[in-house]
């Protein structure tokens, strides 16, 4: 069976992954705190062909590749633009860092989406996300809000009537690209990301960070990917036709 059939198929599968990622980016152009993903490729394994004129096992450089693979789906953590909402519990991060929230199973998740709200509970008001998970402070504990609103300073300090009552946590990682995506613009720490450390970013109250997806970039990439896909599918059908010719040699 001919190698190029599988080579073309491997290339098409890689491009398909990129098309999926582009679709995901485009669907999230309006999601606060969303970070665009980028697919990178690498060439797959090479095998050495047999040279018909050299002795068996003699060195030759007749390599036949087996297509392309996805090498990574990396996240672009570039700053998104801010949109002013004037809401007391909307926060944006200027510079590096993630907010920490407590997930449904008690795990700590990290996000750049600072669209929070105050949730009244039996023993007072708490700062939670729009979907009701607790936002965590710099000490890793939940944040209890006082009556009558708060002001949040750049370093995350929560002030109520000029009195410091807590601090919103801001964390960063040595390798943010190693974080695992947990959906809803949230990430979880992994061995590849390294442990969470205090971040140097500044918190801006009353603003939200918009998605950093650039529609122009995504559409350009979409066209490139589509063209590459079409080219590979042409290689696939050419290989198919060649195999058809071989099959009809006698008859």
């Amino acid at each position: 069976m001919q190698q190029s059939l599988y080579t073309a198929a491997a290339g098409m599968a890689s491009q398909q992954t990129r098309l999926d990622t582009i679709a995901q980016n485009i669907a999230n152009t309006q999601s606060a705190g969303y970070k665009a993903a980028r697919v990178d490729f690498k060439d797959a394994l090479y095998q050495t062909m047999k040279s018909p004129v050299l002795a068996d096992g003699a060195e030759n450089n007749l390599l036949v590749g087996s297509g392309a693979l996805v090498s990574s789906i990396a996240t672009n953590f570039e700053q998104g633009s801010f949109i002013e909402t004037g809401e007391m519990y909307d926060f944006a991060i200027a510079g590096e860092g993630f907010f920490a929230v407590r997930g449904r199973n008690g795990e700590v998740l990290y996000t750049r989406n600072g669209s929070f709200r105050a949730q009244p509970m039996d023993d007072g008001m708490y700062l939670v996300t729009q979907t009701g998970e607790f936002v965590l402070g710099a000490d890793g504990d939940v944040i209890r809000l006082p009556e009558g609103g708060v002001r949040v300073a750049e370093d995350g300090t929560i002030l109520s009537d000029g009195r410091q009552i807590g601090r919103i946590g801001l964390f960063t990682f040595t390798n943010p690209n190693g974080l695992s995506k947990e959906g809803e613009t949230r990430y979880a720490e992994t061995a590849a990301s390294g442990p969470a450390q205090a971040a140097t970013g500044a918190i801006v109250q009353g603003s939200l960070e918009q998605s950093n997806v650039s529609l122009a970039d995504e559409l350009t990439m979409l066209i490139r990917s589509q063209r590459a896909y079409a080219l590979m599918s042409r290689a696939l059908s050419t290989t198919d036709n060649m195999m058809g010719l071989a099959n009809t040699m006698h008859g």
């Binding site: 080579t7 073309a8 060195e59 007749l62 390798n175 390294g194 050419t238």
Partner: protein
């Protein structure tokens, strides 16, 4: 006549090999730092045909008819090391080399391999690595950058608030033909050659070198290969038909 059957078949095999190489180029048309391959073909060594049992020739020995080749075969691979298109990515960990140089990386088994694909990342320990986790090498070994917040000068000097200052170990080769692809966008040296210091080069941070595959060239090559394959197939079929005629000659009352 039967010789023609095999000559046609060698043509088909060579075109099939060429198609494999072209398809690999096409599959890597979007692979950063990929270098296009080309298969060079050659004829088999020519042989002298001799005329045997010719009643008009009365001297001892056979009369030579002329040279004949048994067809074609793949000779060697040629890799085009020209620089691919540069694309701005604005990402700190993306590095592109303009000019004749390669990045050195440390493979899992400690060997040094070379690449033009500069889409690097920072691992959890703070070292600059490839996407597959091989360490990118500087003059002092592995490069510690601490975070993605570092900068690389056009000369390859890595600096940053947490980084240990180092210069990228960029190398060049007198004959890039000694490089052999090993997959994962990496090259290995074969034939015992040694890298030499690079000549003129510039490192660009926040940019990536794309594949140097030309989609149009590969498309044209693919059409040529297909038609070549087809014509060789015709030759084999024609020889087959002639043989069929020869076989049916002997049939009585057919």
């Amino acid at each position: 006549m039967v010789r023609g059957l095999y000559t046609g078949a060698t043509g088909m095999i060579v075109q099939r090999n060429k198609m494999d190489v072209i398809t690999n180029n096409i599959a890597n048309v979007e692979t950063a730092g990929y270098k296009a391959d080309m298969l060079v073909t050659s004829t088999f060594d020519e042989v002298m045909l001799q005329r045997l049992h010719d009643p008009n020739v009365n001297f001892v020995g056979a009369q030579q008819v002329g040279p004949y080749s048994y067809g074609t075969h793949v000779e060697e691979m040629f890799t085009d090391f020209s620089t691919g298109t540069l694309e701005e990515t604005r990402r700190n960990t993306d590095l592109a080399i303009v000019g004749d140089a390669f990045f050195s990386v440390e493979a899992e088994d400690g060997r040094v391999l070379y690449t033009r694909s500069g889409n690097f990342t920072v691992n959890a320990e703070g070292y600059l690595t490839t996407q597959d986790g091989q360490y990118v090498l500087g003059q002092n070994g592995r490069i510690f950058v601490g975070s993605e917040n570092f900068s690389v000068s056009p000369e390859g000097l890595v600096t940053g608030p947490m980084a240990l200052e180092d210069t990228l170990a960029l190398v060049s080769f007198e004959d890039p033909g000694v490089l052999r692809k090993v997959g994962n966008s990496l090259f290995d040296i074969y034939g015992g050659a040694a890298p030499v210091p690079p000549g003129d080069y510039t490192v660009r941070q926040g940019m990536l070198e794309g594949s140097n595959v030309s989609a149009i060239d590969e498309m044209v090559n693919m059409i040529a290969v297909y038609r070549n394959y087809e014509v060789n197939q015709r030759i084999v079929s024609m020889v087959d038909k002639s043989l069929e005629q020869a076989v049916s000659l002997g049939r009585v009352g057919g």
